[in-house]
Amino acid sequence: MPRWTMIEAIRDALAIALRGDPRVLVFGEDVGKNGGVFRATDGLQAEFGESRVVDTPLAEKAIVGTAVGLAMAGMKPVAEIQFLGFAYEAMDQIAAQLARIRFRTQGRFTAPAVIRAPYGGGVRTPELHSDSLEALFAHTPGLVVVTPSRPYDAKGLLLSAIRSPDPVVFLEPIRLYRAFREEVPEDDYEVPLGRAAIRREGADVTLVAWGPTVPVAESAAAQAAAKGISCEVLDLRTLAPLDRSALQASVEKTGRAVVVHEAVQYAGLGAEIAASIMDLAFYHLQAPVLRVAGLDTPYPPASLEDAWLPSVTRVVRAIERAMEI
């Protein structure tokens, strides 16, 4: 089995989808000849031709808006927004259109497009290239919001997303694109949408993380273990709709939770996780659900990002705080 980085796994999922289903097409800015600014689509145009792997003009609204029309008309568009910060430009087409076609037409039409976008910090990108906007999409019913934390999942989740009957916003953590390799089957397989994964079992504190903060939570769990605290690491994978049972089961067991995400803390998805835990497991809670997240400022320039991002140290402190109680 090959050992792949996440970007290789994503590229492979796209190739499998293109190969297996003539309705699939991949498009966006620089995805064709250039193979994508991160090489997620490297070589795909050469293999599948210019009509299936398409360089579009520079217009995010149009990328999403045409994906809506393509999907309504029976195609399977997999569109790329070059960086998630530029999804703001297409927010109307994502939230007021893509997400609502099925509801608006009461099932007469659907728009099962996939919108892929790299996101998150840690690699010294320019402004607007590191923003984590998952909360905006999670707050938009009709969208499935997915983010992988490892190569195996990235491939399987992306294949599921492309075959999903619902539109999927597929968020790819830039920081994990090439962070590590793991064994990834070359065949076609799916990782189901809507299911969280336990990355590490534990008894004292549940760490809830997704995408780029999963490794942060794992490191923190390892450090905590050294101090005698047993952490369970829950990787949500699908951010909306939420896997409520997994969350409930874990927190009922541990009685404590720390949510770790890169997005701005205020009104971030961590708040929903905290509130959901209250709904699902209040009487098991022995401490408040703590959040370790981005500061309530715009994502800062590169020289400040390490200070801004949720660090392993801060997660460990939060774990300790939860335990003190």
Binding site: L25, G65, G69, A73, M75, A96, T105, S164, S245
Partner: protein
């Protein structure tokens, strides 16, 4: 220094002038077409007036009248096939009904019924779009699908003069042009976007010239001349089906009614202006003049036709009012392919509360 500016002629193309005289090229079988169109226009006019009345009576909610724009809609929809994609706004009910939408269904939107957007099977009609210009991009996407699927179907986006100010119009035109997609961008320039007149909407003397920005063709026709509209739409459809890419059509028309039933147009336009359009330029009057001149129409036929239209409208209203209510729970089944657990619990909780 070479400066690029518009130097074209701004007169809209006509086939019939305001007196119903032929000043351009009639389509083949013009008489047959007119005898199909004109009665439908009468029906539409009655439908529109009745809908406005229903709103005043509180039997439906907000309604957007289309009267004055029947020729622009029917003349262009007449070119569409059932397999063409059409992406309308809230003001295209005349065209949609001509294309096959049941009149009773056409009223569901104003009733606030969730099934208003469940467009009939067997057609490729998107539901009327509320977000101005958003549907243009969907049409471009559907046209892209037609091209990939290697049919000679096309996609048409309908929109107003106001919509041309939105980024969606621009991005859609550009995508369609670069990819040479089988798309028609059909603008009904009815002179107003709610209260804003078109000369405050754009500094260009025509909408059609905007095509030049995208390297495509633009056509400006008299939108109250159903033959002229039909000819322009045929030209654009032929180009699309042939693979020659998108065309922008500007149909110059006028909204005779208010923007919607919530609007008071006396705040922003002169009664005299409306009068002028209503008297001299009404698309129904013009077609009737021509038909009469051809010996194909008279007062008797008119009366019979009006009575029939009236009956059809009454029937539509009755059907609309008999249309079964749909519960929130049923409507909520269509957010995702399957109802997510969280939503199911929320619905269950409300069910409990209702009990």
């Amino acid at each position: 220094m070479q400066v690029y500016r518009f130097t074209g002629d701004t007169t809209p193309d006509q086939v019939l002038n305001e007196a119903g005289e032929v000043v351009g090229e009639l389509p083949d079988q013009a008489a047959d077409l007119a005898l199909r169109w004109y009665p439908f226009m009468i029906f539409c006019r009655k439908f529109d007036e009745r809908a406005q009345l229903l709103q005043r009576q509180g039997r439906i909610g907000t309604y957007a009248p289309f009267r004055g724009q029947e020729a622009a809609q029917i003349g262009s929809f007449a070119v569409l096939r059932r397999t063409d994609w059409v992406f309308p706004t809230y003001r295209e009910l005349a065209g949609l009904m001509y294309h096959g939408l049941e009149p009773a269904h056409a009223l569901l939107k104003s009733r606030g019924h969730p099934d208003a957007g469940r467009m009939p099977e067997g057609f490729r009609m998107a539901p009327p779009q509320i977000a101005i210009a958003a549907q243009i991009l969907h049409a471009v996407g559907a046209g892209w699908a037609c091209k990939l699927q290697q049919t000679d179907d096309m996609a048409v986006a309908y929109f107003g003069d106001g919509a041309t100010s939105e980024g969606d119009f621009h991005e859609g035109m550009n995508f369609a042009a670069v990819m040479r997609l089988p798309v028609v961008l059909f603008c009904q320039n009815n002179q107003y976007a709610i209260s804003v007149p078109v000369h405050r909407q754009t500094a260009s003397p025509t909408i059609a010239q905007k095509a030049i920005a995208y390297g495509v063709e633009g056509v400006r026709v008299d939108g109250n001349d159903v033959f002229a509209v039909y000819q322009a739409m045929r030209y654009a459809a032929d180009r699309a089906r042939r693979g020659d890419g998108p065309t922008l059509i500007e149909a110059v028309t006028y909204r005779l009614g208010p923007h919607t039933t919530a609007d008071d147009p006396s705040r922003y336009r002169e009664a005299a202006d409306v009068e002028r359009w209503a008297a001299a330029k009404d698309p129904l009057v013009r077609l009737r003049l021509w038909l009469t001149r051809q010996g194909l129409w008279d007062d008797e036929r008119q009366a019979a036709c009006e009575a029939e239209a009236e009956a059809r409208v009454c029937q539509a209203v009755a059907e609309m009012e008999a249309y079964p209510h749909k519960s929130l729970e049923d409507a909520a089944r269509h957010v995702y392919a399957e109802v997510p657990e969280g939503l199911a619990l929320q619905l269950a909780e409300r069910g409990k509360e209702a009990r």
